[in-house]
């Protein structure tokens, strides 16, 4: 495993930003949002994206002030060796935890819809094996995989649009006035959790080839995510209306069971088959971020230690993913993961900015370590 195998292009960064965010969360998103914001759920989707955009801006601004904008270098420079390492280990722990829960949630959905009697550990294990195999091939491959999987999302969007065409009703989205501002804000909170994943930029910034394009790429990626979420929420809302949607666990999947078509009527299966890769994708990106940072923190040789670290990561992920007893617990852990997302995506850049403000002057003039 060569260090050069980790470089990604800025185009791939777009897809990584998308891929880390769009996951199983979108399936239940319409219920969570519509439950609070009613027919104005789409506004919540937009408002909920604000923290993510803010995080992108903060991260990019932070790194743009350094010559070698690498998570590890910057942490060590701002906080010293020990505090910096600790901060990074916290980030790694968060990433590993979050990706494990993502795997578990996806395994639960698979279990409900496709494999009701297969033991959960088998599903979790095969997902993790797939993820570990991909992560062990390095960042370049992850970048490419994200590209392919993005096109599958487009297919999924096409599939979602079928029930809208057959059973959607625009009246369900009216009236546009009578906005319940509190409800919209309340709905924005679960939405913002669904946007979790943007924090991988903290690590992927350094891996991107052209630094000047990072900000643009991240913004484009985030915008595409917003659009996808918007379409998904609008689709579910138009078909189910605000009352019915609250009774359904995964509105996006139930949505696909609605149309009465011949032969291809079980759209949810087509969707889930395409989603197979999608479910492991946040795991790929976060797993890569975690193992890459881990090696950098301890300054280990990539050739020698990368693959073993990834395998150990897989084992840890398996253990964490098997912790929740049932689907509801898995979901509540995912919800707490959402708060952790706020802490990481907004807290870290703010903390770093603060540290650099305190140490201002000393930073800019110092020549970088690698230069």
């Amino acid at each position: 495993m060569d260090h050069s195998r980790f470089h990604i292009t800025s185009k791939q960064l777009i897809f990584i930003i998308i891929g880390t965010q769009i996951s199983a969360g979108v399936l239940s998103l319409p219920r969570l949002v519509a439950g609070e914001a009613a027919q104005h759920a789409w506004i919540s989707v937009l408002v909920g994206a604000v923290p993510s955009f803010l995080a992108i801006a903060l991260i990019c601004y932070l790194y743009s002030r350094f010559n070698d904008p690498d998570f590890v270098n910057v942490s060590k420079r701002l906080f010293g060796r020990y505090l910096g390492s600790t901060l990074m280990l916290v980030f790694i722990t968060y990433a590993v935890y979050f990706e494990s829960i993502a795997v578990r949630v996806f395994a639960e959905i698979t279990s409900v819809y496709m494999l009701p009697t297969t033991p959960k550990w088998a599903i979790v294990l095969i997902l993790i094996i797939a993820a570990v195999y991909a992560i062990s091939l390095g960042g370049q491959v992850i970048g490419r995989i994200n590209e392919i999987l993005f096109y599958l999302i487009l297919f999924d969007l096409v599939i979602i649009s079928i029930p809208v065409l057959t059973d959607g009703e625009i009246l369900n989205l009216y009236p546009l006035t009578e906005i319940d501002y509190l409800g919209v804000l309340k709905g924005a909170i679960p939405t913002s959790f669904a946007y979790s994943g943007v924090e991988v930029l903290i690590v992927f910034y350094a891996l991107t080839g052209r630094r000047d394009e990072v900000f643009k790429a991240a913004i484009i990626g985030q915008t595409i995510v917003v659009v996808v979420y918007l379409l998904a929420v609008l689709a579910a809302l138009s078909v189910f209306g605000i009352d019915s949607i609250a009774t359904i666990f995964w509105p996006i999947l139930t949505l696909l069971k609605v149309p009465d078509l011949t032969v291809i009527e079980r759209l949810e299966f087509f969707f889930l088959v395409l989603l197979g890769g999608l479910g492991v994708r946040p795991t790929l990106n976060l797993g890569l971020a975690a193992s890459y940072s881990f090696l950098r923190v301890f300054d280990l040789d990539f050739k020698k230690y990368y693959v073993p670290v990834v395998i150990i990561l897989g084992v840890i992920m398996f253990i964490i993913a098997m912790q929740p007893e049932n689907i509801l617990e898995a979901y509540s852990r995912a919800y707490y993961g959402g708060y952790a997302f706020w802490a990481i995506a907004l807290g870290y850049p703010l903390l770093y900015h603060l540290a650099s403000l305190i140490r201002e002057g000393g930073i800019k003039n110092e020549p970088s370590e690698s230069a």
Binding site: M114, T118, L171, P175, D180, V258, D260, V307
Partner: protein, 372 residues
């Protein structure tokens, strides 16, 4: 060996290890395939006792119908499996029948299992049977053991293409049941010709999940037109000239509707326009009518329009006075404008006390066929 090789070896071994169990695999020949299911309350007073019956097709010999008593639908499946150990596969369920008595008690608890089970599609058709669903199925199975189930499904599925009876899916029912301002309608079935042949007898009208009344075939037509459920069927007409019958015949019409709502203080005026469009298919009159006699076509259109208008107005009176619920799905137009204010009131005496409904019928005959 380098790390990559170790990794790959690990993957292969684990994959082989995983393969030792095909947990979910069930071969098709081991399944009892359910096409039609029927649910009833028994004669006894215990209303949670249910009959579950399945009309299965040729895979397990000729179709069979078996009623089982159990405290809940799920439990009935187990009871059933004491005699048929094949896996009870609901994946191909196309039609769910409910006895009228059960429907009048409320269906909420009995559609839950269908909605909850991921393997069952939401486009399962629903129908209410006059009498017992199990007796209905058994009778069909005896008379037509091979194709009975399939024919019944086709009958319900294609109803709106041939007649003024809607096809209601599980999704439609669940949506109308849970959404404010909506009430479901479900087609009704009965046996005719000496209890042998199934017939669509009309529409069961629900208040949320509970059946409150049923209407016959003629009223079903007005209900469909008002509710905007698209159908395509033949309608007879009679044209009068100078107070005498000038001509009789029939037209093949498809319908559509448009709704406008205007607020008038605390009152709401709904303007429903029903559009009927179609072909002249039949004339019985011996009196010749000249080619291009537009006046005659107009007369036909007017005859149908006035007939329809009388019918639907009568239905609206019936709905507002007797049913006192919105079964023609117009409340959503009011909700779309004043959702915040109305959403808690709309299901309580809204349609009968605060609403005036005005109907206009527009008939267009586009074609007269090959004869003049």
């Amino acid at each position: 060996m380098n790390h990559r090789k170790v990794l790959k070896l690990g993957v292969y071994i684990t994959l082989l290890f995983l393969l030792s169990g095909c947990w979910d695999a069930t071969d098709v020949d081991e399944l009892a395939i359910v096409m039609v299911a029927g649910y009833d309350t028994p004669m006894s007073v215990v209303d949670t006792d249910l009959h579950v019956s399945a009309l299965t097709d040729a895979t397990i010999g000729p179709g069979e119908v078996r009623g089982v008593d159990a405290p809940s639908i799920g439990a009935s499946r187990t009871s059933r499996n004491y005699s048929t150990p094949r896996d009870y596969a609901l994946t191909q369920l196309q039609l769910a029948l409910y006895g009228e008595e059960l429907a009048r008690q409320g269906l909420k608890n009995y559609v839950d299992i269908l909605l909850r089970e991921p393997a069952i599609k939401n486009s399962v058709y629903l129908a209410i049977v006059e009498g017992k669903a199990v007796d209905f199925l058994q009778s069909i199975n005896e008379n037509e053991p091979k194709m009975g189930g399939q024919n019944l499904i086709t009958l319900v599925e294609l109803a709106p293409d041939q007649s003024y009876i809607p096809a209601t899916t599980l999704y439609d029912f669940a949506l109308d049941m849970t959404s404010r301002g909506k009430n479901p309608v479900i087609p009704m079935l009965r046996l005719i010709h000496g209890e042998k042949v199934p017939e669509l007898s009309g529409i069961a009208i629900f208040k949320k999940d509970t059946m409150i009344d049923k209407v016959g075939q003629l009223e079903s037509r007005w209900l469909m037109m008002l509710r905007g459920l698209q159908a395509r069927a033949y309608i007879p007409f009679t044209v009068y000239r100078d107070g005498e019958v000038f001509d009789r015949g029939s037209v093949l019409l498809s319908n559509d509707r448009k709704v406008k709502v205007v607020r008038n203080g605390n009152e709401f005026d709904f303007y429903i326009t029903i559009f009927l469009e179609g072909t002249l298919t039949e004339r019985l009159s011996q009196q010749p009518v000249f080619f291009g006699d537009r006046h005659y076509i107009k007369e036909v259109e007017q005859a149908i329009a006035s007939n329809t208008k009388t019918g639907v107005e009568q239905f609206i009176r019936y709905m507002q006075e007797d049913l006192q619920i919105d079964c023609i799905d117009i409340s959503k137009y009011a909700l779309a404008k004043w959702r915040k204010e109305l959403q808690d009131q709309i299901d309580h005496d809204f349609i009968n006390e605060r609403v005036n409904i005005h109907v206009d019928v527009k008939v267009t005959i586009k074609n007269v066929g090959e004869l003049g």
